[in-house]
Symmetry: C2
DNA sequence: CAAATTATAATTGTATGCAATTCGACTCGA
DNA sequence: TCGAGTCGAATTGCATACAATTATAATTTG
């Protein structure tokens, strides 16, 4: 792994946890001094971040961390509703027994956490949920579909959507995971795609409700909140 | 426009017309000497080409021009069939009168060229067709959807698909353009999406037939043919 | 003679210095 | 007082030099 790769991950992480707030500029020289590297690998990392949509390059003026408007969030959901059911559909006709077992194991652990009501259970569920989707993606066997989704589903929005769920919605989400397993096991692509679609539309509804809420209270939604 | 931007376009053009064949390596130093630039802007252009999927970065060994297998072509069609109907659907509820008129003008010119049977009429139609799709994309008003499609619909495959059409298929394609205009004018998203889907599935069928043909004759399909 | 090994050359990865460009503040004039 | 123009500081864009890594090929050894 090259220095530029490390810098890429470091900067992305800092954008994620709000250390670099939306709208702020990421300076090559500053990071270079801090990490004791020259500007060259920093530049390369920033260019990758630009093409991955994390920052915006203003010619001769720097790399600006992107701001997310509600409209952006909606646009991403619209694309996910198109693409992710296709992931499920493909997986239904390709998934292997052991992959199915792994997914089931993840689903069980999420359900357990859901019942526990532990302190940071939501965060743990979110991690497992990411793993679940990643393994499903792998089973679908379409590198381009994977790349597209990785490009648009940037964690700051998707991950946090879990926190807006009511208890019922969370239970419903767990139910979706289970039903998807049955659809996959049956090799029924239509069924699997439909379940995934419901899964996403439910997430979108929760997100929309949250957006309406912050609209009233006047809390910002554009900027990535700090950790 | 920076030097890196120019280099990006130059290299991409050379990949397109076969000057840099699939599987070959693009050397930073060689291009730098030829264009009388240092390796720095060349590197930057190559990194962009990597993230746009034109070349593959082999660590410490260089940038290799990607090879397209039949499976890749099918994967791209699968994604287009998902995404482009959504472009039509969005455009149906957003398009303005003058945009519709421009699309119609393009459709008419394509139909004329189709009747002419001129020598390089196919090439001209392909150019107009690209314009048609670009304007439709603009009318859809979704930058992310646009970016996704630009990423996957790399011209070497899509543009050439026109050349595999029979006369009937070409006429049918023109008919799709017309019908799409009616659907857009009616503001009927379902209709527009359905027409676009047919449009793409027809293109896919022609591509598949062509692939089967070269399979028999043993002609290569993986490498980008020379101009 | 074959296989492992080492040396070499070629290529990318990184550091540093300078040039070009842009944005902001300050000054000058109306 | 307001506006236009100009100067300067800051930042990116590019060139060059050097270091690190890897593939290749010659070489040596069993």
């Amino acid at each position: 792994m090259t220095a530029a790769d490390r810098v890429y991950q470091i900067i992305r992480q800092r954008i994620l946890n709000g250390q670099y707030p939306a709208g702020s500029y990421v300076r090559e020289a500053a990071i270079g001094q801090e990490l004791e590297l020259s500007r060259t690998p920093i530049r390369e990392a920033l260019r990758r971040l630009v093409s991955d949509g994390w920052v915006e390059a203003i010619p001769h003026h720097g790399a600006q961390v992107v701001s997310w408007t509600q409209r952006d969030v909606e646009e991403v959901f619209e694309l996910r509703v198109l693409l992710e059911p296709q992931v499920a559909r493909r997986a239904a006709s390709r998934i292997e027994r052991n992959q199915l077992d792994q997914l089931e194991s993840l689903a069980v652990r999420m359900e357990d956490l859901c019942r526990d009501e532990g302190e940071n259970a939501l965060e743990e569920i979110a991690v497992l949920n990411d793993d679940y989707h990643a393994r499903l993606m792998a089973a679908a066997g379409s590198p381009r579909l994977q790349r597209l989704l990785e490009t648009i589903v940037q964690v700051p929005v998707s991950r946090r959507s879990f926190h807006h769920y009511t208890r019922d919605e969370l239970a419903g989400s767990m139910q979706h995971h289970r039903e998807l397993l049955r659809a996959l096991d049956a090799g029924d692509g239509d069924w699997a795609a439909s379940v995934m679609r419901s899964h996403l539309l439910a997430a979108r509804a929760a997100q929309l409700r949250f957006a309406a809420c912050v609209e009233e209270t006047g809390a910002g939604v554009a900027s990535t909140p700090r950790a």
